[in-house]
């Protein structure tokens, strides 16, 4: 009997202890994001918030490879480990229809965020379904795919002369996709261990899709019709076929072993003197102008994704919005943080720390555009971006794209037309399965 009494008392004590610790942590918020520099900048911004309000902000991170898996495991378990999550733009469908995200439509309208944030960021980071006027996130980190290049290679007079002799025009930042290809071919010299270009080829998440989209959108192609979910005639159109061929052509001029490359490898291509040009998200450019992480920092330049043959110029969208997790116990506190976050001063601070603000006013300001060598290219890009499907089954669509395009790109199986016809059939079947098309 005494034993039972003791254990009950111990249990009560433990419960009280836990209770009080929860109480003590009430003034704190946990934000979940992937492990990269912007998350550190966000932590610094969070520290400012703590100074002002006393609410402690903790940015918890996990490597990109399991970011999606870990976040959704927590959502599916209805866990409240995270109060806010900085989710990928493709998650909007799954996050909103799955009931994982808190509806922010009222908040959005109250603060007129439609005017405050750059239009593309509102469309792709916040709204779901498209044109519905329902918002689930606040644009936080704007991002898109851009290019870095080796200024010293480009400006070498001997190279310039040889290039002009071979291609009949001046060697400069590529004006279009044809020039991109020519320059890549020109610098492809395996015997000197120099290669033309670094592109995304990894098929484990969205790398391959982002890389291909850069070509697809600039060639004037589309993934499909985002309102009717029609894909046949879009993703396998002549323009899309030409774009896929153009992207595959670039693969010829990549460094050896370039079959599973994403942002890490593409930055290495510049820091290790492997390639003349390299595709990457703007979010990874800060480390390229930092001499401690890039020995060629002084000789690295940046440009926006070039136009295709018809003059269309677009880029694939990265970036994330911040959402409140509906299982969080501190939604009011989280709301207060967002209110602070969207203020102009905060957005300026965010940009100064290294975050890619989505605030239209800050983006347009001359201070922002001249702050780094790539901010101008970023500003130009952010007004002409397009994104992947954001439906809840986007991961299946992504997997089908990887399954079709990778063997063609890397293994050289089939033709571009066959590949994209097969992809259109796969996507159509998936949309049928979820009742989006008849």
């Amino acid at each position: 009997m005494r034993k039972i009494v003791t254990s009950v008392l111990a249990g009560v004590g433990l419960a009280l202890a836990c209770g009080t610790s929860v109480h003590a942590q009430e003034k704190s918020l946990t934000i979940f994001w992937a492990e990269w520099d912007p998350a550190n900048y966000l932590q610094e911004l969070g520290n400012e918030y703590e100074k002002e309000t006393g609410v402690k902000i903790t940015v918890e991170t996990t490597p990109w490879a399991d970011f999606q898996t870990k976040a959704f495991t927590e959502f599916n378990a209805h866990g409240d480990a995270y109060d806010l999550v900085v989710g990928d733009s493709q998650w909007l469908g799954a996050g909103s229809t799955g009931g994982h995200y808190v509806d922010l439509t009222d908040f959005f309208n109250k603060h007129k965020l439609n005017d405050v944030m750059a239009p593309a960021t509102v469309k792709y980071y916040a709204e779901y379904p498209g044109n519905s006027g329902k918002y689930w996130a606040i644009p936080l980190e704007g991002d898109a795919v851009g290019w870095s290049y080796r200024k010293d290679w480009f400006e070498d007079p001997k190279e310039k002369e040889a290039f002009k002799a071979k291609y009949g025009y001046d060697l400069d930042v590529p004006k279009d996709f044809k020039a991109l290809r020519d320059i890549a071919e020109f610098f492809y010299r395996p015997d000197q261990k120099k290669y033309g270009i670094a592109i995304y080829t990894d098929n484990s998440y969205d790398a391959m899709a982002m890389g291909f989209e850069n070509a697809l959108f600039s060639y004037g192609g589309e993934l499909g019709d985002y309102s009717t979910y029609q894909v046949d005639g879009h993703i396998n159109s002549d323009k899309a076929v030409a774009a896929l061929d153009a992207y595959k052509e670039l693969y010829k001029f990549t460094p050896p072993g370039w079959a599973k490359s994403f942002f890490v490898e593409d930055n290495q291509a510049i820091t290790e003197n492997l390639a003349a040009m390299s595709m990457n998200y703007f979010a990874f450019f800060p480390s390229l102008i930092n001499e401690s992480s890039n020995p060629n920092a002084k000789n690295t330049g940046f440009f926006a994704n070039p136009p295709g043959p018809n003059g269309d110029q677009f880029a694939a969208l990265g970036g994330q919005g911040i959402s409140i997790v509906s299982y969080s116990q501190k939604q009011d506190e989280a709301m207060k943080f967002l209110e602070w976050f969207i203020k102009d001063e905060t957005q300026k601070k965010w940009a100064a720390l290294g975050g890619y603000t989505c605030s239209a006013a800050v983006l347009k300001s001359p201070e922002f555009q001249s702050a780094t060598p790539y901010n101008k290219a970023f500003y130009e890009t952010m007004f002409k971006v397009k994104d992947f499907w954001a439906v809840p089954e986007y991961a299946e669509l992504l997997q089908q794209l990887n399954q079709r395009i990778y063997p063609y790109m890397i293994g050289g199986q089939g033709t571009a037309k066959e590949t994209l016809d097969a992809l259109a059939a796969d996507w159509n079947a998936t949309f049928k399965k979820y009742g989006r098309v008849k």
Binding site: T69, A259, E393, Q399, Y406
Partner: protein
């Protein structure tokens, strides 16, 4: 009946003094384990069988609909899944055969009086003690065409081990062989040292050649333990995930477990991935059963 199976309790022990019988002590030890197994293994196993007949997705709020055998039908009609199975079979055969050859070979070399045998054996066992993920990351560097030490040592230039669709699976299998041959070696060594010396002496007196001795004495006596190594390695190779996932993303090296992982945790097709897991489970069970039958036969001889 049960009481005769276990050692009886010492009458003077404290447990006996407290009036605990053999059976209650046995239960005390076993029941928590059984409960743990039921809660964390048996229950999910049965639960997921139920899910495998539905279109359930863990990432949405939509209720699960019963779809009968639809998932199984779709999976078995999916050419990608079949190619995953073919790749896995190829991988299992290459990697287990390689481990058997290397492991048994090294064990034969070590099964004699050589100086520092203990140290040598321990050093050879090191790969097996590393984490799969660490081995994967290291070998990715070793295989690198630009700065990898393998191409440098073999003078292969920029040979693309992992980026070449035809080579990727062999490269993964090679890493697996490097890592797990020591396991086969260890078991073989145990088997080899258990072969009675007088058999070899008798063979020597009868002037039997080395091949005859090997095939008629060594191999038959080591076979049962070698079979156990094969069973373990086949099951493990069938389930290989981390190594292949880290090393390459080639579709030609996409093992069934990688496909399953993507289906379950990237696409969140929970129902379908449960069905797939069951297909894999049945296959592993079938293969293991064939082995076990064969093992019993070998033992009887």
């Amino acid at each position: 009946m049960a009481t005769t199976m276990i050692t009886t309790l010492d009458r003077s022990s404290r447990a006996a003094a407290r009036g605990l019988s053999d059976i209650s002590i046995r239960n005390l030890f076993i029941i928590p384990t059984i409960l743990f197994l039921i809660v964390f293994n048996i229950f999910p196993l049965i639960y997921s069988l139920g899910y495998s007949f539905t279109d359930f997705r863990a990432s949405t709020n939509a209720p699960a609909n019963f779809v009968g055998l639809q998932n199984y039908r779709d999976l078995l009609n999916d050419p990608y899944v079949w190619s995953n199975f073919a790749i896995t079979a190829k991988y299992v055969i290459i990697s287990v055969a390689g481990q058997l050859l290397v492991g048994f070979g090294v064990a034969m070399l070590l099964n004699r009086d050589i100086p520092m045998k203990g140290l040598l054996t321990t050093l050879l066992l090191l790969p097996m003690m590393l984490s799969m993920a660490v081995v994967g990351l290291f070998w990715k560097l070793l295989y690198d065409p630009s700065f990898g030490i393998i191409n440098y040592a073999l003078g292969l230039g920029t040979f693309e081990w992992l980026a070449d669709p035809k080579m990727a699976l062999y490269a993964v299998a090679l890493t697996d062989i490097w890592m797990w041959s020591p396991f086969v070696m260890l078991l073989s060594l145990a088997g080899l040292s258990a072969v009675p010396k007088h058999l070899y002496e008798a063979a020597a007196i009868d002037r039997a050649g080395p091949f005859y001795t090997f095939f008629r004495i060594t191999l038959p006596l080591v076979a049962p333990i070698l079979m156990i190594a094969v069973i373990f390695r086949t099951m493990e190779a069938f389930k290989t995930f981390d190594l292949a996932y880290i090393l390459t993303s080639q579709p030609t090296a996409e093992l069934i477990s990688i496909r399953l992982y993507k289906m379950a945790f990237q696409e969140w097709q929970t129902g379908r991935s449960c069905a797939m897991a069951y297909i894999v489970l049945i296959m592993v069970l079938a293969i293991t059963n064939i082995y076990v039958k064969y093992l019993n036969k070998v033992k009887e001889r």
